[in-house]
């Protein structure tokens, strides 16, 4: 009997002890289960990242720019995105100066471009009138419509000197792809790396040149 009595007392002691142990073991098990769950989810999450095939599709493209007439714009595809090639006339270049006070980032300080295109024309200084630019609005990635005529335009405004108008959200850019003030986009359109090889322009590769 005394044995029994003693063991009962023990039982209440050990049951508290047991509860603590059980809680600890439950916690440890749940914790390791969660870590295991995290590992199990990882391959599924990573399977949604760009595949090797998608990563390899970024080769540079070439175009014979001598075929472009003055004032003419064409688009070529590079990495699935439209690249604008625009040979600007002297009037178009002259217009860049006139609307500079309307621009948000006229000196391209917060915008993306190679160093050789960080100027008013946003182009290689050897061929300043040829604009090579990703035709992708910096707001939400639409392709802005070209407005090549100088002068009043219903969407570009009264004092327009030509430019690009994004039909999605009304962002406006000048003929250098520089963004206007007070529109949804806040930086100039991106200039991709490029270089000239004779009559060809190679978009997507500049061999790290700075000028």
């Amino acid at each position: 009997m005394t044995d029994n009595h003693e063991s009962e007392e023990h039982a209440s002691d050990t049951s508290i002890e047991n509860k603590k142990r059980r809680r600890f073991l439950t916690g440890i098990t749940a914790g390791f289960g969660a870590i295991g769950g995290g590992f199990a989810v990882t391959p599924f999450v990573l399977s949604m990242s760009p595949s090797e095939r998608a990563k390899n599709a970024g080769a540079p493209v070439e175009y014979d720019y001598s075929r472009i007439q003055e004032g003419q714009m064409i688009k070529v595809e590079w990495r699935g995105k439209p690249v604008v090639l625009l040979k600007r006339s002297a009037d178009m270049i002259a217009g860049l100066e006139k609307i500079e006070s309307n621009l948000a980032d006229p000196d391209s300080l917060v915008s993306l471009q190679p160093s050789y295109a960080q100027n008013q024309a946003r182009a290689d200084s050897n061929k300043p009138n040829l604009l090579v630019m990703l035709g992708v609005c910096t707001h939400l990635g639409c392709s802005p419509v070209e407005k090549l005529a100088l002068g009043p335009d219903p969407e570009m405004g009264e004092d327009s000197q030509g430019g690009f108008f994004c039909p999605c959200h009304g962002s406006k850019f000048d003929l250098s792809g520089r963004v206007y003030k007070n529109v949804p986009a806040t930086s100039n359109m991106e200039i991709p790396p490029y270089k000239y090889e004779g009559d060809l322009i190679k978009i997507g590769e500049d061999e790290g040149r700075l000028a």
């Binding site: 995105k81 939400l140 990635g141 392709s143 039909p167 999605c168």
Partner: protein, 464 residues
């Protein structure tokens, strides 16, 4: 031997007795249909809940048949939709039922939500019914958005481009996150393929689970009524509300009338105007996706346009207005309230911080934040609404006026979102955006002022 029998539902016959011991068919039937008591004065506004369920079923059924012919492949998708339209027997009908059904879904869900607002169905004790409903609304938007990419038309392509780019404004992880969502550096075959998986598997499952929870939560607290009063305050000796009738057969039959009315309108559109002049099927989507050419007027489908307008309206000048608004709000809280001085200083600091943030940040990130906030506002409604009565029948005049102004702003935003932006339209959209947010921000104030009418003890009901 039945172990748990907490209920006294009587099985109809020996067969049902056998079933009920193994599966609680009679119990569920009674608790959720035959003896689910709903107020006897529910009006036509109460059609839209069951109609949402009907449209969900239509979408799932037509969707199953569309997947039998559709190819989720960037090279084949557009042609496979045209194949469904031209060569698959009755394919045109299945597809038009599905495309019109998407718009019908939003029509009935918007009306269902509006019913909740005017009769106070979001208020205590139905907050969770409302919150789950809001999650359904967001899931439905995701479902519709992903479905819209599948035809691989040019508007599909550029619509997806715009919406996925929204995530780019998230600090630090934005660009990587968008690449992860697209599975590529541009919208491509991988994007189409995964949107197909989400549209036909993941989101329908989520929607079905959420709809189930929505109904469980509703049946826990009971349906509201146009008087916004609790029918369980007047019950007979069996605990049945005096003003209640069983959902089956009374509301099953009544909802069938609603179904007839709905089908007349829905099938009318399906047969006679499946594109509804470019509103349900946009003309730019009849051309295949072209990654070099954004459509001249890129607009989302009509049900997204109010939020799209808010996104577009977010420029520096709107942020300037918001800065002034938060400044004035801070001053008003300092001058016109009776809070403790410490709380007043805290409010003033928060207001000053908002003024600073609005004046020093870009419109691009705020467009996304405002568009998201426009949806978050709906989640907060049960706690923003402080009116002592639930139903619009007994509410004060300030609430009715505010609701009317909000509705006008919401429709104007919707209209503007369907059209290309001009400076004038952007200005109007900005004014309406301010009204939209002011409606929610000022709701605790205008719902607590003005005189409400006395609420009856029993529901308003004319014998007929």
């Amino acid at each position: 031997m039945a172990i748990h029998r907490h209920d006294n539902h009587v099985s109809a016959n020996a067969f049902m007795e056998w079933i009920d011991r193994r599966l609680p068919v009679t119990k569920v039937w009674n608790e959720h249909l035959a003896e689910y008591w709903a107020a006897k004065n529910l009006n036509f506004w109460y059609f839209f809940g069951s109609l949402s369920l009907l449209v969900l079923v239509i979408q799932i059924l037509t969707g199953i048949f569309l997947t039998m012919h559709y190819k989720p492949d960037a090279a084949l998708a557009f042609a496979s939709v045209e194949y469904i339209m031209r060569d698959v027997p009755w394919g045109w009908l299945v597809r038009y039922l599905h495309s019109t059904g998407a718009s019908a879904f939003f029509v009935v869900v918007y009306l269902h939500m509006f019913r909740g607002v005017i009769y106070g169905s979001h208020r205590e004790p139905r907050e969770l019914v409302w919150l789950i409903g809001c999650v359904i609304f967001v899931a439905l938007m995701a479902e519709a958005f992903m479905g819209y990419l599948l035809p691989w038309g040019n508007m599909s392509y550029w619509g997806a481009q715009v919406i996925i780019s929204l995530f780019e404004v998230i600090p630090f992880v934005g660009p990587e996150l968008t690449e992860w969502i697209r599975g590529d550096f541009v919208i491509s075959d991988s994007t189409l393929n995964r949107f197909f998986a989400f549209h036909v598997i993941l989101l329908p499952l989520i929607l079905i689970v959420l709809v189930f929870l929505h109904l469980v939560a509703l049946h826990q607290v009971g349906s509201n009524n146009p008087d916004g009063i609790d029918i369980f305050e007047n019950v007979d000796e069996n605990g049945k509300p005096l003003d209640g009738v069983g959902f089956h057969p009374y509301y099953v039959v009544k909802d069938l009338v609603g179904v007839c009315g709905f089908l007349i309108v829905y099938l009318g559109v399906v047969f006679f105007a499946p594109d509804l002049g470019g509103i349900l099927l946009e003309k730019d989507n009849f051309a295949p996706a072209n990654s070099l050419q954004t459509p001249p007027d890129i607009v989302p489908l009509w049900y997204f346009t109010p939020y799209y307008s808010i996104l577009r309206a977010s420029t520096e000048s709107l942020l300037f207005v918001f800065a002034i608004g938060s400044g004035l709000g801070g001053i008003a809280a300092m001058v016109f309230t009776k809070y403790d001085i410490k709380i007043k200083i805290a409010i003033a600091l928060v207001a000053a911080a908002f003024v600073f943030i609005f004046l020093n940040s870009s419109g691009k990130a705020w467009g996304v934040i405002l568009m998201g906030s426009a949806l978050v506002c709906f989640f907060l409604l049960p706690w923003l609404d402080r009116s002592p009565v639930l139903s619009i029948r007994y509410r004060s005049m300030p609430f009715k006026i505010a609701l009317a102004i909000f509705l006008v702003a919401f429709f104007v935003l919707g209209y503007l979102g369907m059209n290309s932006p001009t400076p004038m339209r952007t200005l109007v959209a900005q004014i309406c955006t301010v009204i939209y947010f002011a409606f929610f921000a000022l709701m605790p104030w205008f719902t607590s002022i003005g005189e409400t009418k006395p609420v009856p003890d029993r529901v308003t009901y004319d014998e007929h």
